[in-house]
Symmetry: C2
Subunit: 343 residues, 2 copies
């Protein structure tokens, strides 16, 4: 079958590889309807994450049809349309039962989901099936649930967004945009999206942003304070992971408020004395997407949310290299890859 390989930083190749096979009785094989490129894949593509020197499979978002299940798989059936989060989990351990599947005691990651077919470990725990096969038009939004929508949703949950709140979102990538959508759906009254890119501003507005702040750093903080009578936002979603984004997030939040953070922290120093003085809280991590999948997929299927709009470029899997270039050069927010021409 065909799959993407990162041969070296900047070098994406689509090549032949062995078909995945059941390795454990709890595994399933899924033929992918769609996969995509994640902002976090760019860390490897850009050589910021160390490359092993060997061609490496890549990708961790997908949806598709189950073609095979192991002997111990009981709830997932061959022929079902499924979405999985960007990690595998048993969904039965104490951390999973508490809703934090991203810290599952049997947490696992995929070999690479930019491919025709994948093996999914702990299929019963990892996969969520739809009742019937969805309309093709829903595929992008269902795919988005696999990571970016679940991650934006988590940011809003960790920031304790409540109905009526004013929420600021730092970051206008796919996760930040999904954070806007999540905050809107969780009842935020005002949503301040921090973005200086016109097309992203427009999508933020479609997703529910009521105000756009183009300024960054101290100027961005000043603008949010100005918009909130010098009080600050009730909750802030930090969807980047850089020191600058965290400083901006902590500066924008009102005393007593919460910052939900889902960007993997890179070089972030937490100003604990300032947090103490302003009684500002900080909570986040890798999103337990599996917790949110059933709810988010239902919202997509019933046409309440449409996070698939973050995909502004769709390409055949064979053209994955162009997809990476487009995201690297910020010509695309997020690229959907179609393994089969028929899709």
């Amino acid at each position: 079958m065909r799959a993407t390989f990162l041969d070296a930083p900047g070098e994406i190749r689509v090549g032949d590889t062995a078909e995945p096979t059941l390795e454990q009785p709890t595994d399933a094989i899924v033929e992918l309807s769609a996969s995509c490129i994640c902002g976090s894949d760019l860390w490897s593509y850009r050589g910021i994450n160390t490359h092993s020197g060997e061609p490496t499979r890549i990708g961790h978002e997908y949806c598709g049809i189950v073609t095979e299940v192991g002997a111990d798989v009981t709830s997932i059936k061959v022929g079902q349309f499924v979405v999985g989060g960007f990690f595998t989990c048993d969904n039965t351990c104490p951390h999973c039962r508490a809703g934090f599947q991203s810290v599952c005691q049997h947490l696992g990651f995929y070999l690479g989901c930019q491919a025709e077919r994948i093996r999914v470990a702990h299929a019963d725990g990892t996969l969520v099936a739809t009742d019937t096969h969805p309309n093709a038009a829903l595929i992008p939004s269902l795919l988005a649930c696999s990571d970016v929508m679940g991650t934006g949703w988590h940011a809003a949950k960790m920031a304790s967004v409540q109905p009526g709140m004013t929420v600021a979102v730092v970051g206008d990538g796919a996760v930040g945009l999904c954070g806007v959508l999540a905050a809107a759906h969780q009842g935020a009254e005002r949503i301040i999206a921090m973005s200086r890119h016109r097309p992203r501003q427009q999508l933020a507005t479609e997703f529910g942003a009521t105000e756009i702040v183009e300024e960054r750093g101290d100027d961005g903080v000043a603008r949010v304070l100005e918009l909130t009578d010098q009080i600050g936002a009730d909750a802030v979603l930090e969807c980047v992971g850089t020191a600058g984004a965290m400083t901006q997030a902590l500066g924008c939040v009102r005393p007593g408020g919460m910052v939900g953070f889902v960007g993997v922290p890179h070089g972030v120093d937490v100003p604990i004395r300032t947090m103490f003085k302003r009684n500002v809280g900080l909570r986040g991590g890798m999103a337990p997407v599996r917790q949110y999948l059933p709810e988010l997929m239902e919202l997509v299927i019933s046409n309440v949310i449409d996070p698939g709009k973050v995909f502004d470029l769709q390409l055949p899997l064979e053209e994955a290299a162009e997809g990476y270039r487009a995201m690297d050069e910020r010509r695309a927010v997020k690229v959907l890859l179609k393994p089969f021409a028929a899709n």
Copy 2:
């Protein structure tokens, strides 16, 4: 009137000083039924906080009878018994209305509450009156609401303690002990108090601790994990403020859990990548005691909680120096000072 002065680190003196007078129409004068020595007063006493070189008034916890009110004071009346938090606030600004009076836009501090009488700014905002004068036996517990009980309560709130939870409390000072009492009252099912001092262990148990962990550092973390089937506590109250205490708190909490912190951070580095990986949250600050005062005072008056037990030494105000020595040498958990021999 008489009041304590810190003449230099280690040198507490009770001396004469001018009577407080109304300076603003929103002020009140309160004759104190009781005051006390705070663990944080020891920072100055020990010379860890810089001393100005001049004799300095000290103390910030009190309860007593209103003797005078300014022209603009409307809700507080002369003759009422009142408790105030350890700071003054207007209780009307946006931060106060959101329940974070400790970040009030008109936040203020006292000149020194280890005295016969004090001036209270923003009396209507700061003070909470009882319906009738309380029985003398309730004075210690009402006094405790002024700081340590409100602060322990805040730690539990910031840690999002919920009924049925397993809660660990780091710190066996008056605040930590009140944190145990708060967690118990907020519905924690199991409370693990971390303490190696027998009398404090005993009081923790009286306050609701179900288990005691004597070990500290890595050993303390290992013991809490052992007690919780390697899962960790659902919520942890960090009531010290040192790097060691924070490390212990973050190590004891389960993935997805919250650490509520109320110890002023001293030399604390927040391991943000570990927080991210374990999805552990951190929230806290100077406690908005004013938010909790009405509820806590009612719980004291109706004999539901008795935080006054943290006072294991009562002295006349004139013997304040001995009170400081007793706390400094850890002979006493917390010292109550009585301005009037008649008390």
